[in-house]
Symmetry: C2
């Protein structure tokens, strides 16, 4: 019952931050977690896990590793789960302690900065994209949805179990950029076409993506060393932020 | 009440196909519809529309155009709406009659082919991306979610009110490709890097994107003249299909 109570509590961001724990739900997410360097504190299961594809194998694997398992009834499981049709498995894991100072910057680096990106599905898809296209790190700034929100974890499909994603502040990012000589580019419809600008990119660049509806914050505009844009039709207002992230990272890949 | 009954009925794909009508919900979608060439059959409103940003202006604009309006109670509106917190406006509009033969092919064309892409949010985002990046058309094949599904319409943000999106079949697409000399490229992790292949692209190309979980169908594999891939990290299984569409269309843009 302790794991059930904890899992319910971790639906709130404040609780996740206080405990430094998060929940990964579903067979696939728990499999990814088990393959990652993150530590699993415990796993909650419900009877329907036996019917899920790979469910029984996952359970056996977790038992063999000595992970604490708690079996609960389907109704109790549903009270902690955030999906509509839960597969009957969720893991409580330790959120990795990452800060800008723990990042491994190469000679050439691309950092993605999320400035008040609010939709969990977008942020999860961006993490998956950043990991796939080899971004050095993804940094979330205040106003952005919590990296360890259940929907973010689900959409990311395990990406930030290994990809260095962390939350920070403009102040910390300013100091970090000065120390490591990192240019700050910001995505804006009025910017220069990325294809032109990226022909000679700085060796280290941080790219800021703003809020889905309102775009860049004043803080981002004040700091940007260049504004960059994607060439889109006048008939369309904007691209989805995760699609835009994918194109920018593809163009900037090293 | 006629519009209310019709709107409820149009939640089913079969009813949309029989009536050749669809529903666009929310202030923004109805605004986009009113700006598009599509014909609005009628609009259902609920009292909360007066409180929505731009709600009163939209209502006045529709009245001035002589659009048939029906006011219903909040509870009745909710029975037809597909969103959780409806803004109190939905329009019933005529689905455009588009077929491959109505497409305006230029000397250089890029068509996007969706081969059993199932998530409505993904398909809507793909339509928004295809319109933004100037694809000639988006063609859905059997197994792909209905273009006029309410969630697709919402995610597309009005894109296919003007972007030529249509549903077709492999047989019709085969004949069309032969007639207009269109190469068929298919996206697959084992393909050649798109950056290399696209250095000398055919003047007309149709790019096939497969199902989110299972990838390309046998039909697509049998027909493809080239398989193309995006360079992704081995740690990540795949990109989201809408993000992949964005990168491919960016690379292939003319």
């Amino acid at each position: 019952l302790r794991l059930l109570t904890l899992a319910r509590d971790l639906r709130r961001r404040k609780a996740r931050e206080r405990h430094r724990l998060f929940v990964a739900e579903g067979v696939r997410a728990v499999e990814e977690l088990a393959r990652s360097p993150l530590r699993i504190r415990g796993v909650l299961t419900a009877p329907q896990l036996a019917d899920a594809p790979r469910g029984a194998a996952l359970r056996a694997d977790l038992e063999a590793r000595g992970v604490e398992l708690a079996d609960v009834a389907e109704r109790e499981f549903a009270s902690a789960a955030e999906t509509d049709s839960p597969q009957g498995v969720l893991a409580i894991a330790e959120a990795p302690e990452r800060s800008l100072d723990t990042l491994d910057l190469g000679e050439r680096s691309v950092l993605l900065i999320l400035d008040a990106v609010q939709d969990p599905g977008n942020v999860g898809t961006i993490l998956r994209t950043a990991a796939a296209l080899g971004a050095t790190a993804t940094v979330t700034l205040p106003g952005t949805v919590d990296l360890w929100n259940a929907k973010v974890v689900r959409s990311a499909m395990g990406a930030h179990f290994h990809h260095p994603a962390l939350s920070s502040t403009w102040d910390a990012l300013d100091a970090f950029r000065v120390k490591h000589d990192i240019a700050l580019w910001a995505a804006d419809a009025a910017g220069a076409p990325i294809g032109d600008v990226a022909a000679e990119p700085p060796s280290r660049v941080a790219l800021v993506l703003g809020n889905e509806g309102n775009g860049l914050s004043d803080e981002a505009r004040a700091r940007a060393t260049a504004m960059v844009a994607l060439p889109i039709s006048r008939e369309v207002e904007s691209l989805n932020v995760a699609v835009a992230a994918g194109i920018f990272l593809y163009v900037l890949r090293r």
